[in-house]
Structure formats: C-alpha cells, structure tokens
C-alpha cells in the first residue's frame, strides 16, 4: 500500500498549475498598477502644465495673476539652497563615513553614532523643520534665510549621504589599503590617495540623489516659514528666498482653476531639474564603475 496515490496527485496537478498561472498574472498586475500610476501621474502633469510652460514662465516673478506668474525667484532660490546644502551635507556626510569606516574602533560611542544615524534617517522631515525653526531661525537668529533653510536641509539629508558614502568606501577592497600601507603610506595618505579616489563615484552618485531629495522637499521649509510671493532674487546667504516646491505648494492651494495649470508647469520645471540631477548621478555611476 502506498501513501501517495498517483491518481489523486495527477488530479490535483491541473488545479495547482492553474492556480500557479493565475497568481503569476495577479503579481504582474500589481507591478502593472504601480507602473500605471506613474504613467498617469506624469501624463496628467505634462498635459496640464505645458500650456503655461513658456520662456516668460521661467523668467517672471510670482504674481497674483496666473497668466503673469513665473518661477524665476523659486528656481534661482532652489539653486541658492543647493549652494548651502551641497557643501555642508557632503562635508559632514563624507567626513562621518570616512570616520566610521576607516577610523572608528568598536566601542560604545561609535556604536551609538551608528545607531543614531539609522534612527535619524527615520525622523519625519517636518520634525527637522521644527528643529530648524528653533535652532537656526530663532536661537542663531539667521531668520528665514537661505542659510537657515540650507542648514536644516543639510541635516535632513545627512543620513542618506553618510550611508551611501559608507557603502562606497566599504566597497573598496582591503587589498588596496594593504598595498598602500605596505609601501609605508600613512593612514591619511591611504585614505586620500587610494580609498577616496576609488570610492568617489559611489559617493557622488549617492550625494546627488540625496541632493535631489532636498530640492524636492517642502515640509521643513513650510515650518521654517519660507515666504512664497517674492519679487526679488536672493543676494546673499542671509537673504530671504523661496524654492520651487514652496511655490508649487502655494499655487496648488489657490482656488482659481488657472493656478492648477501654473502649478503643473512649476512641477514640470521641478521634475526636469530632478531628471537632470539623476541623469548626472547615473552617468557618473556608469562611467566610473570600478572593476577590481
């Protein structure tokens, strides 16, 4: 007597195979829905916004009248923001990554630093806004300036840059460090001449992606109180300014339907900026992919 009857196995087989097929299509459908939502989103925004997307739109200041509104102040403001965020966040982020990967011994302090970074990455961006409002805007009295907003954003994307840089540094094989030490190079010489040159493409790619997050981020700036209707360009780090997402937020809240189209046009500008940054990141990644 056999435990498994061939007949019943074969009877079940058809059902199991149908089930297998059916689920495969369901899983595919899920991917399809995700991709479709992206397509719909992009399609909507492009069809809504292109009409207002003129040269005037790029070179005009904000206005109460939709047909005169432009993104000049916001676009230039976003670039000013990067002027602070890029150097600050990259210096701190890469420095931290080098410390953690090359110098940090296994002890309580360093474990704490590591744990802290992964928790910091999970803090909602709006909470960083509260930090910026209290510390930078009020305590250090920087006002609602490029500097205050830039420092806040730098802290927000710091964990992302740290983690990306750590991965890039960790990917440099230890044999490379050994070769350098074996020549009598010091630790710092090895880091500067061997580790960083090999890790820099990965670090840059990660940093640019982090910066593109900062360029699209709105919530912390809302909390800091960045103004929206500005008729001038920032003239220094302590100047007040506005950025693209803030401008879009303001337009999107307005009741007149025309401003929906203006907002869409603003979104297209923002997305083009993001696409440019991401393309640079991808270009760097592909161009300098190292082989060992």
């Amino acid at each position: 007597m056999r435990y498994i009857e061939e007949e019943s196995v074969m009877r079940n087989m058809g059902k199991r195979l149908t089930k297998n097929k059916l689920w495969k299509y369901l899983f595919m459908l899920a991917v399809g829905i995700a991709l479709a939502s992206l397509v719909v989103l992009l399609f909507r925004i492009i069809t809504q916004g292109t009409e207002y997307l003129t040269w005037d739109f790029l070179t005009s200041f904000a206005s109460r009248f939709p047909e005169q509104a432009g993104v000049k102040a916001a676009l230039i403001g976003s670039l000013w923001l990067m002027l602070v965020v890029a150097p600050v966040s990259m210096t701190l982020g890469i420095g931290t990554a080098i410390y953690l990967e090359e110098y940090a011994k296994k002890n309580k302090l360093n474990d704490f630093i590591r744990m802290n970074i992964s928790n910091l990455a999970g803090v909602p961006s709006i909470v960083f806004g509260l930090l910026g409002l209290t510390i930078f805007v009020r305590m250090l009295d920087l006002g609602k300036s490029v500097l205050a907003a830039g420092l806040t954003m730098s802290l927000l994307i710091l964990p992302v840059i740290i983690v990306a840089s750590q991965e890039a540094i960790r990917a440099v094989p230890n044999e490379q460090r050994e070769a350098s030490f074996g020549m009598g190079a010091t630790k710092w010489q090895t880091i500067v001449r061997v580790v960083l040159p090999a890790a820099i493409p990965g670090i840059l790619t990660g940093s640019i992606l982090a910066l593109s997050r900062a360029i699209g981020e709105t919530a912390p700036l809302v909390v800091i109180g960045i103004p929206v209707i500005l008729q001038f360009l920032p003239d220094g780090l302590l100047s007040s300014f506005t950025v693209l997402p803030m401008q879009i937020f303001d337009w999107a809240k307005r009741p007149q339907e025309e401003f929906m189209f203006v907002a869409s046009a603003g979104i297209i500008v923002l997305m083009v900026l993001l696409i440019i940054m991401n393309s640079i990141a991808i270009f760097i990644r592909n161009k300098f992919q190292k082989r060992y």
Binding site: K19, N20, K24, L26, F27, M28, A30, V31, A34, S37, L38, V40, L41, R44, I45, L92, G95, T96, Y99, L100, Y103, A104, F112, I113, N116, S118, L120, G122, V123, P124, I126, V127, G129, L130, L131, L155, L158, I162, T186, W188, R213, G216, E217, T218, A219, V222, V223, I224, P245, I248, F249, A252, K253, M260, A263, S264, I267, L270, M271, L274
Partner: protein
C-alpha cells in the same frame, strides 16, 4: 645626465622625511572626522531637546491629560481645546488606507520581481519603481488633489473635496516602492538551494513563493512594512494638500480630516505669533509624531535584527 644624480631613492626619502605637516595631519584628521560624525548625534539631541523644551512650555498651559485624552482639537476657537486624539486618528486613517493599498500591491510586485521576472524585465522595472520613489511629495499631493479626488468623486458622490481616502491612496502609492524594494531584497537573499529543494519535490513556483520564500524572508518583509508605515505617519505634503484641515473624531474617510503633520503645516502657514499657545502646540504635536515614528523605526530595527534568518 640622470636627474637623481645617482642618489638612491631611500636617501631621497630620508631627505624629505619628517615634514611637520604630515605628522600633524595624521594626528588631527581623525579628530576632525570624529567631530563631523558627532554632528549627526548633535542633530538628534537638537531635535529631542527642541521638542522637549517647547513641549514643556506647552504643558505649562494645557494639562497633559487633556492633551492625550481629549477628543476635540479646536485651537483656533474662542474656547480653545487641545485634545490630540482627532489628529492621531486622522493620521491613523491615512496610514491604514495607505497600508491597505501598498502592502498587497508592494508584496505582489516584490514576489513577481524576485520569483517570476526575467533579468531583463527586472532591469527595467526596478529603476522605474525608483523613479516613483524619487517623486517629490508635493507632486503626489497635487496629484491627489487634482486627479485622484475628482476620480473618486465620480465613483462615490459623497466624497468631499478634502477627504482621507484620496491622500491615503496616494500615500500608499508613495510607500509602495519602499515595500517592494526592501521586500524584494529580503526575498532574493533567500538562497537558491532552498528554492531548488522545493521545486525538486514538484512544487509550483507559486507554492515555492508562498510556502518557502515568503516565510524565510518574513522578517525582512515585516521590517519593510513597518518602515513604510513610519514613512506614512510622517508624510506631510500629500495630506496637507488633499486631506483638509478638520480634526474630526469619527470613522468617516470620505470627509475632511486633519493629521498631525497637516496641523503643523496649517499653523506654520498661518499667522499664529511666536509665544502663543498655538505656536507651542506644534511642538507638542511634533513630539507626539516623533514618538510614533521612533517607535516604528526601533520596531523595524528590532524585527530585522532579532528575526534575521541565518543561511
């Protein structure tokens, strides 16, 4: 004529040795780098102390018990009420809707990518999903307000302009790539040999995916969902634009609501002066939000550490 004049390399090395700068650099760089690493710690302290100090000021004016048990949030009323439960409920509604949308879709997509998709399909789909993850939340918010809500209104006439459903769905779309990519990582790290073991017994791909891969990757999958929930709780712009600003304490998801984050935005864009109770209330709400997301993040870390599968 030789440039080195027959001098040996070792002699030249000896001659250029003992540069003060080099020694100094070796000593100071690690300390400087440690300093940069401490900035991230300082940031956490900054966040915690900021929230604690300003929230403390808030609680000198509003009793703590009223804050955490009150079911009315009416800061702008003549007789102001600061019971945070309506804001928490608003946040939970959004989170729940987002989870209902994102978890099945995200997991199904992850299973497809790790178990069924060909390499070339994966190479196309994954970057596209990354694009979805890289879209600014303000854009999602605009999409919720100007597209998803009108579509919902066509299907269900009692959906209001501001409601929980539309931003909830869009937050779901926003966290979907996160669930998919983290879960897929967890599933692809299940060794091939385990799959082959099951396939060799005559199991179908579906049976392998559900009975073998999913249980083996469970801790990573659960951690990804918890992280995504944390992200949904902290999401701000989508709910500010499409969720409304009515802190209600009921089960309705078709009408206007307010989340913790949306309240902070509402106050920030309004003209509540520095030092008013309303001003301090955003810190109390921010603190509550911080606690919620911190618990979620610690939970995710605990799950992925505690239940890590050893292969």
């Amino acid at each position: 004529m030789s440039a080195s004049n027959g001098q040996s390399v070792q002699a030249m090395i000896e001659a250029s040795k003992n540069k003060k700068g080099k020694v100094l650099l070796e000593k100071t760089m690690p300390k400087l780098l440690l300093l940069t690493a401490l900035i991230s710690v300082l940031t956490t302290f900054g966040i915690v102390f900021t929230l604690i100090f300003e929230t403390y000021e808030f609680f000198t004016r509003i009793p703590f018990m009223e804050f955490i048990t009150g079911t009315q949030w009416l800061p702008f009323a003549g007789d102001a009420k600061y019971g945070i439960l309506p804001l928490i409920l608003g946040t939970l509604k959004i989170t729940a809707i987002a989870v209902v949308v994102a978890v099945p879709l995200g997991l199904a997509a992850a299973i497809y990518l790790s178990e069924y998709a060909s390499d070339s399909a994966r190479r196309i789909i994954k970057p596209v999903l990354e694009v979805l993850a890289g879209i600014p939340t303000i854009v999602y918010g605009f999409f919720a307000l100007t597209f998803v809500t009108p579509v919902l209104q066509m299907v269900m006439p009692d959906v209001k302009i501001f409601n929980a459903l539309s931003p909830g769905i869009v937050v779901g779309i926003m966290i979907l790539p996160m669930i998919t990519s983290l879960s897929e990582d967890a599933m692809t790290s299940v060794p091939k040999s385990i799959r082959e073991g099951a396939l060799g017994l005559g199991a179908t791909k579906f049976e392998v995916a559900i009975r073998v891969v999913l249980p083996a990757a469970l801790s990573g999958i659960v951690a990804s969902i918890v992280l995504a929930i944390s992200r949904a709780i902290g999401e701000t712009m989508i709910v500010s634009l499409a969720g409304g600003s009515t802190p209600t304490f009921d089960a309705n998801i078709t009408g206007s609501i307010q989340t913790m984050t949306a309240y902070i935005v509402q106050v920030s864009t309004g003209d509540a002066g520095y030092g008013t109770t309303i001003y301090y209330s955003i810190y109390a709400v921010g603190f509550t939000l911080f606690v919620f997301t911190l618990i979620m993040n610690l939970l995710a870390q605990y799950i992925s550490k505690r239940f890590r599968e050893e292969y």
